[in-house]
Symmetry: D3
Subunit: 322 residues, 6 copies
């Protein structure tokens, strides 16, 4: 039986490529009793529904990641306790903090990546077979790094990860790089993928850019949703665009939206712990039905959902490329 | 036949000098389909109604200015395409970006000034006779400069322009200066007009001030609405005041409001692409009826409208002067 | 006859230790006609009701403190004129600005402390017997300092004051100290009380902390509500916690909440002149009824009210201590 | 009789294009009794020798400009009193401070430009016929601007001035622009001339660049010495390069040295009020003898002299151009 | 028998009010084997010679203060071990670090003040009767503060201390204040004394000013040497001036030098751990002989000595006052 | 025949653990005609003498690395042309800039690491067998990183590299990490090694620390010279210390000098392109003779040499450990 796909048709009066779920946010800040906020979270199809890994900042504003489950991708049960990772044999597991997870199924298991505190943020890696037991591996990189996203397939027989080298604070720069690993332990062959734009070409992404959702392979290449940031006189504003990377050489950008696809304009995106943030972390695809659902954190406070047609998004990305 | 003046009487329960239009904002962020936001825009009486020049940031957040027309000053048709300027003989027209326009009729044509990107922001100048064909002239000044406002008459046989020298970012300082030109091409005789206040005297305008609307000549002198900025721990907040400049020597400030006239306190002023911004760019005057309508950008996202009685505003400015 | 205590029972669906008044904010920004905002204000039982000292920024955004009175602690009459202080014999009274008052009754009079401008912020001290005549004393400390809070009793025969040394701007650090005085004029015996936490232990209070309400003596020690600040990429966010100080040596922290008690999540706390601020300045206690009412400034714009049970707060503070 | 030209042959062991005078600095910091430092000064041939305008900071570190005279261009008599400027009819002369002068003879008189304080630095203009009486004109531009250099001829019948728009502090950016004036009073036709380089192309000039000496017309175009600045972890370092501008369109850069010509490496350039500064302000040319003498400020403290062969400098500039 | 006064006559070719000792620095950075640098130190007449308290940073660059002795005020024996302070009964002595001491004899003992680390710099106080045993008292103020200087007499029966409130880093601001204490334990009656100047009036002291030597009572008032700081593009530069304070109301400035008295211009002042620093900490006076010797730290590395005639310094201060 | 070891005995009057070469600097800034400066360079024994890799900034201040040779380790012939690297099969070699090289012999070849520009600094890797042909491999890490140092042996069958994650500018933080690689291509197993100290414990190394020389295995563990940085009000100051790392687990610090071993105090270390820098990049060891020679960059301008006895350095490091 096919899993129920989270979906809502485009509103009649809309001609947007991407539209929001009418009952956003789908996850409120206090959905679990200990949470200050739940946002920047990732989901995957799992068994007869969906599993997810959720960033839940508790009321001490300690950052951690929790598992969750849903039948329809919209209504979620989130585990009130954080995920407990066991070592996969690595001698040390660092536990400063964990945030902004992504999830992807590769070969035989679900890989989770996140921002791990190790005297500064870097990319943590773990896996699970069943979303019950979780194993943590070596961190991918040295600090300072954020937004590590694994490709869903090996490329040239190696794991491939996008990431955004940063610094130890509210980084005011950010390029996306690609790195490879033969074993998910040692990483190299680093390639530059994309930079912020100039202010005059596309100001919404002129301060920094970071990978968002796990790339999806299409005929045109790997399509991914990413966040771009502008610096206003009142701080950063995060919006979402899409990029298509070359199939064989995914550090080569083929197309990249000059306009954003989604920018903070609903109250739950404009008001919250950090105003004016749209931060995509996952997408679900129903290729047959040409449907895409995008999960994004809003205002660093809640999780929201947006929809689009895959073919239209590809067409728009190609037709509005920088 | 007299043009319909945009107006709403003061609410019965209000004793404010300036009051807002009840259906604000009059222009939404997405009034044209390609726009991210429409704000900081200027209007003038034109033919049997009004014409305007509108700052429309598109969805790539590229800044440009568009023409628009209205019968009543409230409901506007905005041209979905940016204004195309032809050179008036100048060898080069720069096109990095255009924003924050003002418009004024002098002698035989409508002059438009705006913030023009020329390796940094400076004051662009253009004109039109009919709001169909537009001509661009030499930039008035070297970078970095913003908020260039022309007086509606020549003064001592020269054009006169207020402006606010700045830097290349979210400038944390700003004084208003006056400059003269015999020919709208070469500028000199620069005079200092006004500075930010001290924190203790009038904190809402203690970081920077900038000219807003085209000055209007009254018996007391030139009255103008301007913006003042305070630096809070969460960024800048922009509010609006009024100033009366000397008739013959308009770099001399006669009166200047110590209190603001309008500060962000409606949700469309407090929430948006840049929270807490009121930025006046134009006023309309019906001197007979003693009516003033002020157009201001709100939250760097939309255009709003406010009203007042000219005589009261003058009296208030004199009575509450720094 | 007992004074009416401002109170509302916990909502049925809530299990929070602290809950908000359902008609918040209790004081609007324009409650007096000259005010831009009224917030960060303090109250005490007085005669058959309550008296308060209110921070009212006027429309020039000049900061001053006003007296006010209430029968029920919820509906307030605020004096439209600022408090006029007479010298208590000190040769000079400085009047740059006054903000963020606290009030406490000690022995025979009501002492008021506030942030006083003296070439930079420091702690002003004054007193009144009747909230009609007010006397100003010497400033407690050299600049730069804020959030001076007096204990309601002498300790070891000396007045005791908490404060937060700062700098002259939007200070990005802040520890709480305790100082003593034999005569409310000369101050010494300075002791360090508490610091911000590490980012990973309790991020909501990792930038700075400052004393909030006047400490209340309980069996466990002095309980006080304080503010903690985190630096987001869009500025500061202020939340509220509680701390219990040792009875005899009140510079010794016995317990301090790792989670916050209240964080900005209502629109009047998230949107305003400074978004995302909860700033407690006073509490009322009905020990018999085990009731606590906390007055806090919201978004640097209005005054709001929250409630809790004293015994529960103490238990929570002990049980969730850093 | 020909004026004695300040000169020293290239040291035998040197193959540098530019070499220093062996008795540098030629003007010490205390050459006049009231001075803290004398530097960044300009000279011209005058009568049977040379005249100069010198930046002398007095012992209150107030900046002003003084006249001086020399028979040989090396030994100078500097007037202990600052130049007194009379108005040339302009209504106001601003006198906040004056520094970094340049001098050029055009048509019938010696024009002096400098950095003039007018609520921030901008370009002051004055003239003299005899270095005894001095007249001050309108400032050329609005603040903030520095390093205004006039061309020695009118270009297309207009005066032409290079300048470097800046901000109000130790500006961390700086491009050179060209502006024109029909009358030395009103300025326009602003053109961008040159920017800092990228870090990897020529790091010594990657923070900012500013015009130095008055351009000299050669067959290849206008040659000028300029300063370029790099930001080290211990502040700015100023070095000197040369640029050749197009004859007819002097905002067009034809050649520009990728290597510097002179960088701080003598103790009087490396140690002083501001370490590591070489700041050229004037050059003398003996075209027949192919000799160039360059006057530069060293370490913001003294005046030094360097020499080169004009033909070699042109060849080097062309051969080592960016 | 009279103590030998450290002295050298003014050089014949000098007309300066202050002149340097020809064998400066008198104390080298490595005079004791464990020291990285010895600077910013204070001396007093003691028994048949002089005693001093010296800032010695050790080779871990830990800051501490050492005692030392001299017969002639020029050749010093410095104790290789830091001063050990015993508590004078205060419950706690903080020992984070100690630097920049001053010494003064009042009534019956030698009081030492210094910058004491107490979660940030503040003013430590101690005393000795014999420079063998040392006692530490309560810190005078809350952090952050530096350059605490005691007057040599009680004023109106109270101890009086100058200090410079600061922040926790390389403070970019600094005013001098005066505070009083009845008992050297509790401090109050804070008065503002002097601020930095404007850039145009006296740029060498436009960033911050701080008290230097212990004030000396003369007929004109209390004369004191202080440091003033300018911010160059390569950091701070410290120079020395003098100020005369009113006899009865020493927070009133009667005269203050617009020019500096001494600015870094010798290699040992310009080059060292922190280039371009002159930092006076003590003076000796031989009133009969009209001689003043000033001890100052140079380049945060060594101790140097300068001389002047008291009558001339007073005259110069009055004649060159701001 | 044994290679001549660069050496000078300790001066008779010295009791320092490390002493300087009396003819420092051994390499001047202009030793090759195209160089602006030569500093931060590394050497190894090679054939019958020594080979080195030198950072030579050219006169455009472009950074590159050059080979050089010496018979005695003191007098060097430096190749005027930069090293040309051929790809070892990697598809791309980035060439933005190269600086701060280190060299180490492992197994069969000389490995070179350096700071490589790849949209920001990271660690470049190359090798040579003969210092004639050079091959470049994949960069070790993602930007931003500096000071990559390889261990001279594999550890647990893997290459091991120390590095200092940084940002893209004059990084104000810096910890040393250790990473492993099975193949010099893919890197992982990142471990934190050491952080800056607190200001009060050892201020000379309180801003950042970075690995300097290739670690040398001794009985006590791996000894390495490193740089530590303090932030003064005039910028950074770099000094040198030593650290002993655990033999088997070299990310474990066994001993680390609280005092520095060498701090800028000679004129060639205090004055230059960047004042006050000592930056060790290599050491030579004659274990039999107990001699160590340390090569360090001075003032970012020249190369200098210092000496010590290995046994004494180890003893000092253990005896003066933090």
């Amino acid at each position: 039986m096919k899993i129920k796909f989270p979906w809502q048709d485009r509103p009649i009066d809309s001609d947007e490529v991407i539209w929001r779920y009418s009952d956003n946010p789908i996850i409120k800040r206090d959905q679990i009793s200990t949470s200050n906020s739940i946002f920047n979270s990732a989901v995957v199809p799992f068994e007869s529904g969906y599993a997810g890994v959720f960033r839940c900042d508790n009321k001490a504003v300690q950052m951690n990641i929790h598992s969750g489950f849903s039948k329809d991708g919209i209504n979620w049960e989130i585990n009130p306790e954080p995920i407990i990772f066991r070592s996969d044999g690595t001698t040390e597991i660092f536990r400063d903090y964990k945030y902004d997870p992504r999830v992807v199924f590769i070969e035989d298991r679900y890989w989770i990546t996140w921002c791990e505190g190790h005297n500064g943020p870097t990319i943590g890696i773990g896996y699970t077979f069943n979303f019950k037991e979780f194993f943590q591996c070596e961190n991918a990189f040295l600090p300072f790094n954020r937004n590590g996203i694994l490709f869903p397939n090996k490329i040239n027989d190696k794991y491939a990860m996008l990431s955004r080298p940063s610094d130890n604070g509210h980084t005011a720069f950010g390029d996306i790089y690609l790195s490879y690993s033969p074993d998910m332990k040692f990483w190299g062959e680093h390639r530059h993928v994309m930079s912020p734009t100039s202010f005059k070409d596309s100001a919404w992404q002129c301060t920094k850019v970071g990978a968002g959702s796990v790339p999806v392979l299409t005929e045109e290449g790997w399509i991914m949703f990413y966040h771009g940031v502008i610096t206003t006189c009142n701080g950063f504003r995060y919006a979402m665009g899409s990029v298509i990377l070359d199939k064989e050489n995914p550090h080569v950008v083929k197309y990249r939206t000059q306009p954003y696809l989604l920018t903070p304009s609903e109250i739950y995106e404009q008001v919250g712990d950090v105003p004016n943030v749209i931060f995509p972390c996952a997408s679900l695809i129903d290729e047959e039905a040409d449907k895409v659902s995008i999960y994004y954190g809003a205002a660093d406070t809640v999780v929201a959902l947006a929809f689009g047609k895959l073919s239209e998004i590809i067409k728009y990305t190609i037709g509005n490329s920088l």
